[in-house]
């Protein structure tokens, strides 16, 4: 046994995890030393969240050994793991929005000490001690829901510290932060490391946390494909290891000059979400809308499809006004919307693949109240073939498909309705690398056929390889309209987070 393993706070050996035939992790070794910061990198579906779930005791490993804080842990659950000092800060922070800062920080500590009564004084003491430790001032009595994102994250860090965290796992810690806030986070991380607290960053955008990390581990398709000192990696080499190939940038072909204006959005405003959103979309154009998490990009997308009722503004498609706040009216105006969260919003998981497509065309194949089942099924099957959905059985539930194929099913539903405008929110979230490139091909292809496409995403390479124009949003407003061709990824990243 090497000394490395002896001192490690977390030591995983040959961890394998299978879910119903899918191998999410394949014999992965993973160690974290006390006071070390590790970047765990990988695309969506690479197995990084599974690894986190195993360390935090949420999921049992199928095979392999786990040592935490010097003890073998053949049986692990979230409570054992937390007692050993492993704390996970999820992307949504899992805070109680209606409770105060102090209550949120002290909550877990109070529970674990089995206090029978709520002691307001003790709660404040615990909270202010934790805040002092990272040198941050936040009003202890403020309700957490009123705080900006960056401060919520600090509250979550303090909660972990108050529970005597030895290892803090941070899921996508920088997606919602501006550059200044990222720098402050880096400072806090350095301080924690000096105190011997280990940190794991889980992310697919690692440029910002590389600076404070000692080690990088890259997962791809459940296997560890690279591991080494952080100094040996840069953003480019990370991307290469994560995707397994140098993704060729295929810039979109030009919009046909003099193409008609398809969609006009004027002064769309909703108090508290977005304000004064105006843009034109040409036939055959791909328009990107981007911004940090919480900038209002998803609310705008929903408003365009009538899922959110704006207070003011207008939307016209091909010169005709579209009634606001009514998804059926939007769909009649031939606007299609493929939502961000396929699993809860986009698909009927327990229903068949065929039905998931056919549900968009029920009216077209209904005569005298009854459906023409054959034509409905044939048309849906045809779209599935056109989008190259790989499945042995179209009557199988759609949840049996992989992420990439599921996304094609969601696309097929809208394409079968011959949309004029297609809104794609996070078109390649949770999709493997190969399918991602295919989906980008489909987007470019649809644009060539004259459909106006709006891609809402924070995946910068995706925006650059598909969009003609990119709108950048911050705090609910469009702050920049950029030409997709003359833009580099660093430029765009800077404009997003500055």
């Amino acid at each position: 046994m090497s000394p490395d393993h002896d001192t490690a706070f977390v030591d995983l050996r040959a961890i394998t995890k299978r879910y119903a035939g899918v191998t999410a992790l394949d014999s992965v070794d993973f160690t974290v030393q006390p006071g070390e910061a590790v970047c765990l990198a990988g695309e969506n579906g690479s197995g990084k969240s599974t690894l986190i779930k195993i360390i935090s005791g949420v999921e049992p490993a199928t095979a392999g050994t786990i040592r935490i804080a010097g003890q073998d842990r053949p049986y692990l659950n979230p409570r054992i793991s937390a007692a050993a000092g492993v704390m996970v800060i999820f992307q949504d922070f899992s805070l109680f929005p209606n409770l105060s800062v102090a209550e949120n920080i002290a909550f877990a500590t109070q529970l674990s000490t089995h206090q029978r009564f709520f002691k307001a004084k003790a709660v404040r003491d615990i909270a202010s001690a934790a805040l002092d430790r990272i040198g941050v001032r936040i009003d202890l009595d403020a309700r957490v829901e009123t705080l900006p994102v960056a401060q919520k994250q600090l509250v979550a860090i303090c909660r972990a510290l108050a529970s005597r965290a030895q290892l803090i796992i941070m899921d996508e810690p920088t997606t919602a932060l501006t550059e200044k806030e990222v720098r402050r986070l880096q400072g806090i991380i350095r301080m924690l490391k000096d105190e011997g607290v280990a940190v794991i960053f889980v992310s697919h955008k690692l440029g910002e946390v590389l600076a404070v990390s000692e080690k990088v581990v890259v997962l791809r398709n459940g296997k560890k494909v690279a591991e080494g000192p952080a100094s040996e990696f840069d953003t480019q080499s990370l991307t290469y290891h994560m995707t397994g190939r140098d993704v060729p940038e295929v810039p979109p072909s030009d919009v046909t000059p003099g193409a008609e204006t398809l969609m006009q959005v004027k002064g769309l405003t909703k108090a508290g979400s977005f304000a004064d959103i105006s843009f034109d979309l040409m036939a055959g154009e791909v328009l990107g809308i981007t911004g940090l998490l919480g900038c209002g990009r998803t609310s705008v997308a929903k408003a365009l499809f009538g899922l959110v009722s704006p207070d003011a503004g207008s939307i016209t498609v091909a010169g005709r006004p579209v009634p606001l706040g009514d998804p059926q009216a939007a769909s009649l105006a031939r606007i299609g919307y493929v939502p961000e969260d396929r699993l809860t919003e986009g698909l009927f998981l327990s229903q068949s693949i065929l039905r998931n497509v056919a549900v968009g065309r029920l009216d077209a194949h209904s005569s005298g109240g009854f459906l023409d089942m054959t034509r409905l099924a044939d048309e849906a099957a045809d779209w599935l073939r056109r989008l190259k959905v790989k499945t042995p059985d179209v009557n199988a539930p759609v949840q049996s498909l992989s992420g990439g194929n599921q996304q094609r099913v969601a696309l097929a539903r809208w394409l079968s309705r011959a949309p004029r405008v297609l809104l794609l929110n996070g078109p390649s979230v949770g999709v493997d690398v190969g399918s991602k490139a295919d989906i980008h091909d489909i987007i470019r292809d649809l644009a060539r056929q004259g459909i106006g496409i709006i891609v809402i995403s924070d995946d910068l390479p995706e925006l650059l390889s598909t969009c003609h124009r990119i709108l950048v949003m911050r705090e609910g407003r469009i702050i920049d309209a950029l030409d997709g061709k003359s833009l580099t990824e660093d430029d765009l990243a800077h404009r997003l987070a500055s």
């Binding site: 939007a330 809860t344 919003e345 998981l349 327990s350 109240g369 009854f370 459906l371 539903r413």
Partner: protein, 336 residues
């Protein structure tokens, strides 16, 4: 794309389990009490008994398909029956020639169906436009409907119908009891609605994932209104059958039918969270329940014990259908 149905598909379908249960209960009762259970008299009496609550179970089924429930079915049935009964007793009498009383019967039936549809519209509006949870909306509206029926009758039974009324509940057509025919027709209609119409497919999809239905631009409010109107119409037909068989109408008839209707729908494989349900399963569950109920009757099990058995059965079926038990069953199976 063709759908291949192999024997394996048939035997693994949840409905197959129900067929086995129905046959088993029938066989058990036939063995325990052969001369009485298998008598023509008993078989005919069963065929007259079950359609009224079976139709309520169909009403429950369509509401459950959306992930909702309709707890007002019995209230709607009784209110419809009371309105029909009042019309019949006010404007017709036993001495009236059959041709004339038949017209009044038709009017009474139409009025009952209108009540059923209106009650369904109220339920649908509460669920769709006000977004109330169906279980509370229909619990409340069911009490209101029962309250109307009590107010109209003062709580006593309405009776004294012309003999034509017996046609609905007590007559036979080609030797088949009329209630059974009504049930068969409604079951086929509901099956076709659920599997062959755009509306039915939307009901299933909405039940499977209401949020995805919203994102798929399905007109959810209109769909929910229709669902509860259909449930209301089915309930009022059940009410008319009860009225005809009891030769009277009362605000609190068939109070045990509500639990029974829920039980049958769940036993029939309808997912109480929505998105799955087949009419054939419900029909098989109805038969099992009727065999069980008649059999227990013959074995002289008390009526009170019967409700206890039903309640226990409902919980048992739901527990068996949970993931925990499914996983447990899977773990006992030999690994392949």
């Amino acid at each position: 794309m063709t759908t291949r149905i192999s024997t394996r598909d048939v035997t693994t379908a949840p409905e197959f389990r129900l067929l086995v249960i129905a046959v088993f209960v029938f066989g058990l009762m036939a063995v325990l009490s052969p001369e009485r259970f298998l008598s023509t008299q008993n078989l005919t009496s069963m065929a007259f008994q079950f359609p009224e609550f079976a139709i309520l179970a169909l009403a429950m089924t369509i509401a459950m398909m959306t992930g909702g429930i309709d707890l007002s079915v019995v209230g709607v049935a009784n209110l419809s029956a009371v309105v029909a009964a009042i019309i019949l007793t006010q404007y017709s009498n036993a001495d009236m020639p059959a041709s004339q009383s038949a017209i009044w019967l038709a009017i009474a039936i139409a009025a009952a169906l209108c009540i059923g549809a209106t009650a369904g519209l109220v339920n649908g509006a509460l669920v769709a436009f006000f977004g109330l949870p169906p279980i509370l909306a229909t619990l409340g509206s069911g009490l209101v409907f029962t309250g109307f029926a009590i107010a109209m009758t003062g709580g006593s039974a309405v009776m004294g119908f012309p003999s034509t009324v017996a046609l609905i509940g007590n007559a036979t057509l080609f030797g088949i009891p009329v209630p059974l025919i009504l049930f068969a027709v409604l079951a086929v209609v509901l099956h076709l609605i659920l599997t062959r119409t755009a509306f039915g497919l939307r009901v299933t999809m909405y039940g499977a994932n209401p949020l995805a239905a919203l994102y798929a631009a399905i007109d959810i409010n209109r769909m929910l209104l229709k669902v509860y109107v259909i449930a209301g119409l089915f309930s009022s037909i059940a009410g008319l059958i009860v009225m005809s068989r009891a030769n009277s109408a009362k605000a609190d008839y068939g109070s045990s039918y509500l639990l029974l209707a829920v039980l049958i729908a769940v036993l029939g494989g309808v997912n109480p969270y929505g998105g799955y349900g087949r009419v054939i399963g419900v029909v098989l569950a109805v038969l099992s329940m009727q065999f069980l109920s008649s059999g227990l009757n013959m074995l002289q099990v008390s009526n009170f014990a019967r409700e206890l058995i039903w309640g226990a059965l409902l919980i048992l079926v739901m527990v068996i259908n949970t993931h925990a038990v499914t996983a447990l069953r899977g773990s006992f199976r030999p690994k392949t």
